[in-house]
Symmetry: C2
Subunit: 329 residues, 2 copies
């Protein structure tokens, strides 16, 4: 096709399958984003397989709208459930979606953390600190995770995550109600958001029951959606400041577990709570600067492009450094 | 029926619907247990309604095996989901089971904490400290909960519970593996129990993935089943001692929130972790004795009998004190 030829040579496809959204991007070797696609978040378990594959198909179709699928010569799929993608029943269902999209190239599967790391730095070695719905700190060597702290999911870990902040915000409200006192601004915002309650008797157990029931009416991970309430109450409610300080301390502690004091490799921040100018990002940045003043701190804004870059690199290793600057510079 | 007449006068039925088991007991006014029944645990949500009602029917049928249902003149049902029992669709389904069992009396619904409290003390006022699958501390006035701390369930609270201990034990194993070190005795026991792994490379992420997957293969609340591993490692693994101390400190802090220093009313211990001679029970008892040396500490062993006593008391208030001594003395 004319569009493809004009962009010059083989194309690379990157996919980033996350809990919040699924993103796809097709790039050429000059680093131009020729097509992008976005669909619902996907959870690649057997249980939700078809919904996840629908999201993948939709994102890929959008990214391929103006390019010939046959020009795509390499692809990398980044996913939190990277182990699941290699399970036979999911791999074969994915292969059939792949063919239906007109794609003929093979794909490699990597952890979403890998795509985030490479999107944030051209360096093969360094540290990733992520806080979104989940959280982790990881040391990368040659663009592979050499050590990961946490990333255990909301039930067992993610102790510096949006889930942690959201759940803690509910606990702040519950603790005040247990004491038969009216919650502070953060707790009141939680109650208003989840139950609609603004006027209530704090010494009645009813409002506590309503709040607990409202939380259980949604999947547990939905608690992460309350993290912006905590952010919004920074400097307004000491409880919000306490929670943000605790999350930042956890992320910095975990970073210290994968970095020695003298480490000068880059640090990449990823996840919605660290890639924008949030109070948590400011606390983490200031802690990182205090301990590793000479380390460059990058931001991973486009995991799908990170995956696409990995795919392009497999086609043209020599051009990879130049391509990275063009994509992320 | 002859058996019933011999036992003398109207009978009372108590039911205790818990997550682990459903228990029923029929008592006469002398405090004799004329019939008992035990069935599966039940969760009285709409979702699991029929299974829960089957358990109730089975426990009630067993308790009524040797007495005439018509002799039962009062009943009390204690349940963690006491609010749910009053919901119309559950109440009407329960009423139909009630009639099918041949019962003609009305029943009153109370929180399971109320049945536990009255099973542990004849005093109308006092404190309940519970740690089983969940946990709470509560102040009772006139046998009604005047203030409850926690009891928020595993997702939001239960911070001194078997769930807390079980989840923390998994986190101990994960923290060691994150550091690429071999877990201590408690962490190894967790790994062996959940994944069967005994020989593994602690610097591989595989064992971490296996452990996280094994936890997610069961409902979250199943983590409480790991609490005995923590108990078994008391004095053996410092991590187990740390977790037990944390759970005890939480329970004692929560007790302090509902009791002033000079409070001399009784304290009732309830829940599987406090009613037997566990390391957690010893820590809690010793903390209670230090702060409230003059308070009697009772144990709630039979919530169903507590419920039955409440039912009997509604028939014969004057005989209630004597009956309590006969039932629990």
């Amino acid at each position: 096709m004319a569009t493809t030829e004009a962009s010059g040579g083989p194309l690379a496809l990157g996919l980033d399958i996350g809990g919040t959204s699924t993103r796809a991007v097709v790039i050429d070797r000059a680093g131009r984003r020729l097509g992008t696609g976005r669909a619902d978040g996907a959870n690649l378990t057997s249980h939700a397989r078809d919904k996840a594959l629908d999201a993948v198909s939709a994102a890929v179709a959008a990214a391929l709208a103006t390019v010939s699928p046959a020009s795509v010569r390499a692809a990398v799929i980044a996913s939190a459930g990277d182990n699941n993608l290699n399970r036979p029943e999911i791999a074969s269902a994915l292969a059939s979606r792949w063919a239906k999209a007109g794609l003929t190239c093979r794909y490699e599967v990597v952890a979403d953390a890998v795509a985030a790391f490479v999107a944030g730095t051209p360096s093969p070695d360094g540290t990733l600190v992520l806080s979104g719905t989940g959280s982790l700190a990881a040391r990368f060597t040659d663009r592979r995770p050499a050590q990961i702290i946490d990333a255990h999911g909301w039930l067992l870990g993610d102790l510096g995550s949006g889930f942690f902040l959201g759940r803690s915000a509910v606990q702040v409200a519950l603790a005040a109600l247990d004491q038969h006192t009216r919650p502070g601004p953060l707790g009141l915002a939680v109650l208003r958001t989840l139950t609609g309650a603004t006027d209530f008797d704090p010494s009645s157990r009813q409002v506590t029951s309503d709040l607990v029931l409202a939380v259980h009416a949604q999947p547990p991970v939905a608690l992460a959606a309350l993290a912006p309430l905590v952010t919004a109450h920074a400097g307004v409610d000491p409880e919000a400041d306490r929670l943000l300080a605790a999350a930042a301390a956890t992320l910095l502690d975990q970073t210290s577990m994968v970095r020695t004091a003298g480490d000068a490799t880059p640090i990449v921040l990823a996840g919605s709570l660290l890639t924008t100018d949030t109070p948590l990002a400011r606390l983490v940045r200031s802690g990182l600067a205090a301990t590793w003043p000479s380390a460059a701190v990058g931001v991973a804004l486009d995991g799908a492009a990170g995956a696409a870059w990995l795919a392009a690199r497999s086609l043209d290793a020599a051009g990879a450094e130049h391509l990275h600057a063009a994509l992320f510079g």
